[in-house]
């Protein structure tokens, strides 16, 4: 990528063309200007391969004359339009599936706040009855893109638990934002060691909820396959089941943790951010076919969702978002419940008002290391078997390059690396050593 | 050649024989009744004649053609009236008429049906459903339906068995009237001896089943026209009647065991005449 400095300035040295030396000024420029200077720089570089020559030329005729002269030969306007990434989308009418939970806030709020329309897309958000249907409707192409649980695109691309189809994670929808909620009768059983024989619900097998729950109880010495019962239950039914006493607790998505508190049947035992701060939860996924066959649509969607994510990250906007996604068309929950989840000021069910502003966050960056962690847990509990090429799968499914590209277009900061070490419940995870990590656990599925 | 010829008719089931070696004939315009105890196979004969049942052996020839299945040439009046309960009186008869003459239009059919409704005395009940009719009326519809197709031969299977005596009498009168007017060839099964004497020209006596046979063909020696109210005054009446009753009570069972010999053709008897009463012979006017 060429450096984005003014090529008509004779005093400026055009830097090297690798583009990794992006300076702050480029980020301040708008997209259009960015594109414009890209083209202008390219033309100038082509005309004057030797930089010294360019500077001499400019000193001789002056910037204005130079620009006029060259514009008459090179139609910058047309070139600019051609180079514009914002080409009209191939497919304008899209159906996007979602589950009515706060994790999907970015992709939901993009509808009432007009972000999809801005990008030239006519999106219909289809509230779907469960994760199995989310998967099926993507596999049979009834939906064009979908809200997923982060592990799902990995599992689907690998053909685990479903027919195999290449599915990609464009962005992570949200990080944190889950909790372990227990029945009010277990107020005095806060130590997980006392949970032997308890029944827990999770929304889906291939979910962060399942993996986090297992990790959590395993750290306290319980084997999640033998010491507790884990059931798959749709999130709204989690609260009903809790009330009926069919389950003792659940690790589920919000707003149902807060709803359990609101309905006075449960209390929040621990927030998921206290298990792994920054863990991914849900993802925005597209089939690989869309990226290849409808790249403009893909780009437009990406921008819309990222715009929403950017807005959602700002704590100032959280109340507005709660208001906008509460109606029956979207989440269909009381506004105050959603607001408590998004703002982090909430009642915990035990008589306390807690203030945890980053209870839920919406960082869209799809770290490869997240994917590798998911893969290690899948192997640990027997969902995936055999030799796994962790790096390859992670890099295939989690689209870091695209994320960086579109985040850049929208002035969002993207980290330089895509692998990072992080801590889960105090224990460090090194993405470069996945097998060692799996081996380091005492409790795992017996082979 | 007789109009109807039955030769060596037999009906057997594995292990039993209903009847075999049946021989009789009928002329056109003749009214023949067949009498016998229950289970002797009368209805089976009728079903074979109607084409609803197949004989195990023997042959039936009507109007020089072999009878091998049901036909519009042989109309049937069933024991239960067999009216279709979802159709009105008119529609029931029309159903038959349309089967016979499918090319007729609605008016033609209706006019034809009306004739026969009037004939059986049911004018005014054209649009009633069978459930709204009494037993006698229903049976009359059955008769009207059978007559309406103007079959070559009419088969009646104990048509008045389910009726009370009063109704029966009235309809019998009608039947006599119609048959006289139309010269219809009729084969009728009955239990009622008096009915047979009133209606029939010839009465076939069937022995008891199994292994039944036609024991006798009795010629009805009473003169026509016959009137139900006066018939019993005729001296021939009781001679014929006693002959028939005597057969039913005493002689019908003798054929099974072979006590009375069977003959290929049933012997003809003329009660009252074969007795040798000369004066009676003069009075007798065998046919109309």
């Amino acid at each position: 990528m060429p450096a984005f400095t003014n090529p008509f300035d004779p005093e400026v040295h055009l830097g090297c063309s690798c583009g990794s030396h992006a300076s702050q000024s480029e980020h301040d420029q708008s997209e259009e200007a960015l594109n414009r200077s890209v083209i202008e720089t390219a033309v100038m570089r082509a005309l004057f391969p030797q930089d010294a020559l360019r500077r001499k030329f400019l000193n001789a005729v002056g910037a204005g004359t130079a620009l006029a002269a060259i514009s008459s030969m090179f139609p910058f306007g047309a070139l600019e339009a051609m180079a514009q990434e914002k080409k009209p989308p191939e497919k304008k009418e899209l159906k996007i599936g979602f589950i009515a939970i706060t994790c999907a806030s970015p992709l939901i709020m993009a509808d009432p706040l007009g972000f999809y329309r801005e990008q030239g897309l006519n999106v219909q958000l289809m509230k779907t009855a469960g994760w199995a249907l989310i998967r099926d409707k993507m596999l049979n192409k009834e939906h064009d893109a979908s809200h997923f649980l982060s592990p799902m695109p990995i599992a689907i691309s690998m053909g685990l638990g479903s027919a195999q189809q290449p599915m990609r994670v464009a962005t992570i929808q949200n990080i944190n934002g889950q909790a372990i909620t227990l029945h009010v009768k277990h107020k005095d059983k806060r130590d997980p060691k006392q949970w032997k024989g308890f029944k827990f619900a999770v929304p889906f097998e291939y979910s962060m909820h399942n993996f986090l729950l297992r990790y959590y109880v395993a750290e306290y010495g319980l084997d999640p396959d033998t010491d507790i019962q884990i059931r798959v239950t749709p999130p709204p039914e989690m609260v009903a089941n809790l009330r009926a006493g069919n389950i003792d607790g659940f690790l589920g998505p919000d707003p149902f943790n807060q709803r359990a508190v609101y309905d006075e049947v449960g209390f929040i035992h621990v927030l998921s951010k206290d298990i792994w701060d920054g863990h991914p939860c849900c993802a925005f996924g597209v089939p690989d076919a869309m990226i290849k066959d409808a790249p403009n649509t893909f780009a437009a969607l990406y921008r819309a969702v990222l715009t929403a994510a950017r807005m959602a990250r700002d704590p100032k906007n959280r109340s507005l978002i709660a208001k906008v996604i509460a109606p029956p068309n979207y989440l269909n929950q009381p506004e105050t419940v959603i607001e408590q989840v998004l703002t982090g000021k909430f009642a915990d069910g035990l008589g306390n008002v807690k203030n945890v502003p980053d209870r839920a966050d919406f960082d869209p960056f799809p770290w490869h290391s997240m994917a590798v962690w998911i893969l290690t847990q899948m192997k640990r509990w027997g969902y995936a078997k055999g030799e796994l090429n962790y790096k390859q799968i992670a890099e295939q499914v989690f689209l870091v390059t695209d994320a960086r590209k579109y985040m850049a277009q929208l002035d969002m900061k993207a980290p330089a690396a895509s692998y990072a070490k992080f801590k889960v419940m105090g224990k460090e995870f090194d993405p470069a050593q996945p097998e060692k990590y799996i081996g380091s656990f005492a409790i795992k599925k017996s082979a | 050649m007789s109009f109807l010829l039955v030769q060596d008719l037999a009906k057997r089931y594995p292990g039993s024989t209903v009847f075999e070696g049946l021989n009789f004939a009928m002329e056109k315009g003749e009214f023949v009744c067949i009498i016998g105890h229950s289970g002797c196979g009368k209805t089976t004969i009728l079903n074979v004649l109607a084409g609803l049942d197949a004989a195990t052996g023997g042959i039936v020839i009507m109007d020089n053609r072999e009878v091998s299945g049901p036909s519009l040439d042989r109309g049937v009046v069933f024991q239960g009236h067999a009216l279709m309960p979802w159709l009105s009186v008119l529609s029931n008869i029309a159903f038959a008429v349309k089967s016979r003459w499918p090319e007729w239009n609605r008016i033609q059919v209706q006019v034809h049906c009306q004739k026969f409704i009037d004939l059986v005395g049911l004018t005014g009940s054209e649009h009633k459903k069978p459930s709204q009719l009494s037993g006698g009326m229903k049976q009359r519809v059955g008769i009207a339906r059978a007559f309406a197709i103007q079959p070559k031969m009419l088969l009646l299977d104990e048509p008045f068995g389910a009726l009370d005596a009063l109704t029966r009498g009235t309809i019998q009168d009608e039947l006599v009237r119609i048959c006289t007017a139309t010269r219809q060839t009729v084969f009728m099964i009955t239990h009622d001896v008096d009915e047979a004497i009133l209606l029939a020209d010839r009465i076939l006596l069937m022995s008891n089943g199994p292994n039944a046979c036609i024991a006798e063909a009795v010629e009805n020696t009473l003169p026509r026209p016959r009137d139900r109210h006066n018939i019993h005054h005729d001296p021939q009446y009781y001679r014929v009647r006693n002959h028939l009753v005597d057969f039913l009570v005493n002689r019908s069972k003798l054929y099974q065991t072979g006590e009375t010999a069977r003959t290929a053709q049933p012997p003809v008897s003329r009660p009252g005449i074969s007795d040798g009463d000369e004066s009676s012979a003069k009075i007798i006017n065998l046919r109309h």
């Binding site: 009834e142 309905d263 029956p328 068309n329 979207y330 269909n332 | 609803l52 159903f95």
Partner: protein, 277 residues
């Protein structure tokens, strides 16, 4: 007769009154400590109307008025008025039921007329008949891949059996003597089928139709709950998600009433073809 109907009507209303009375008593709001509303209480929604457990009669009345006063609103694919939802469901039922009729009646005829076919096909019918729609759904989704068509298929496969069996039975039980009449009148097979067998078997066939429509309506609600989209079943599920029992109860009452109306419809047809023997 009129007196009997009146008596029955009065008794019916009396039952309803008792039932509503019990409901009212059972859902009387418990005395709430109206203490100072601290922040915690606010967050827990105290003092605000929220659906706590079973709805009161007042809440039910409100829900009725809200939904029925504006039955055709459309605020997006996931939020439509009750009228529109019912429309979608009825449309699916109509289609699935129609296909079931088109398959069941001819096949039923064939099976009824041929004892051989009946014996041959009966085992399959008996095995397929008891399968619940919830079990058919995943198979349908997997093979048909389209959730709309799957829904209609599931309606068809569940409602076809009573109609089929009753048609076969009705056809097989046509009185011998009517068939004999047709025989002696040399009635051709097609005319016999339409003019004799069909009217004779019609009451039995329509009994089957009545049972089938009941099943079809039952199935559509279950199917829509599973699959989502638009429809009364989806409406129930969506309100269930919000743990809004008031709306759920409202929805099941609507389902019951519509089911009753569908039954009335077919019963009317049944009356038209019934005859007295």
């Amino acid at each position: 007769m009129k007196l009997e109907s009146l008596k029955a009507g009065v008794l019916s209303l009396a039952f309803l009154a008792v039932f509503l009375g019990i409901w009212h008593l059972a859902t009387l709001p418990k005395v709430q400590s109206q203490g100072a509303m601290d922040e915690y209480a606010k967050l827990m929604g105290k003092g605000v109307k929220k659906s706590e457990g079973f709805p009161t009669l007042g809440q039910m009345r409100e829900a009725f008025v809200t939904h029925i006063s504006d039955p055709f609103y459309d605020r997006g694919p996931n939020d439509k008025g009750i009228g529109i939802q019912l429309g979608y469901s009825l449309g699916r039922v109509a289609l699935g039921y129609l296909i079931a009729c088109l398959v069941a009646v001819p096949f039923g005829f064939l099976i009824g007329m041929s004892p051989l076919l009946y014996r041959a096909l009966n085992p399959y019918i008996q095995v397929l008949k008891p399968i619940s729609p919830l079990a058919w759904m995943p198979i349908a989704l997997y093979t048909i891949k389209d959730s709309g068509i799957s829904g209609i298929f599931v309606i068809f496969i569940c409602s076809v059996w009573p109609l089929l069996i009753n048609t076969a039975f009705g056809v097989a039980s046509v009185r011998r003597e009517w068939l004999n009449v047709a025989k002696t009148l040399e009635v051709k097979p097609l005319r016999k089928a339409f003019a004799v067998i069909l009217p004779a078997a019609a009451p039995t066939i329509l009994t089957g139709a009545r049972i089938s429509i009941g099943i079809a309506w039952l199935v559509i609600v279950a199917a829509e709950m599973l699959v989502g989209g638009t429809g009364i079943g989806y409406f129930v599920w969506n309100e269930w998600n919000n743990l809004n029992l008031t709306n759920v109860i409202f929805a099941i009452l609507v389902i019951g009433v519509v089911g009753m109306l569908l039954d009335f419809l077919i019963a009317g047809l049944q009356k038209a073809v019934t005859y007295v023997e």
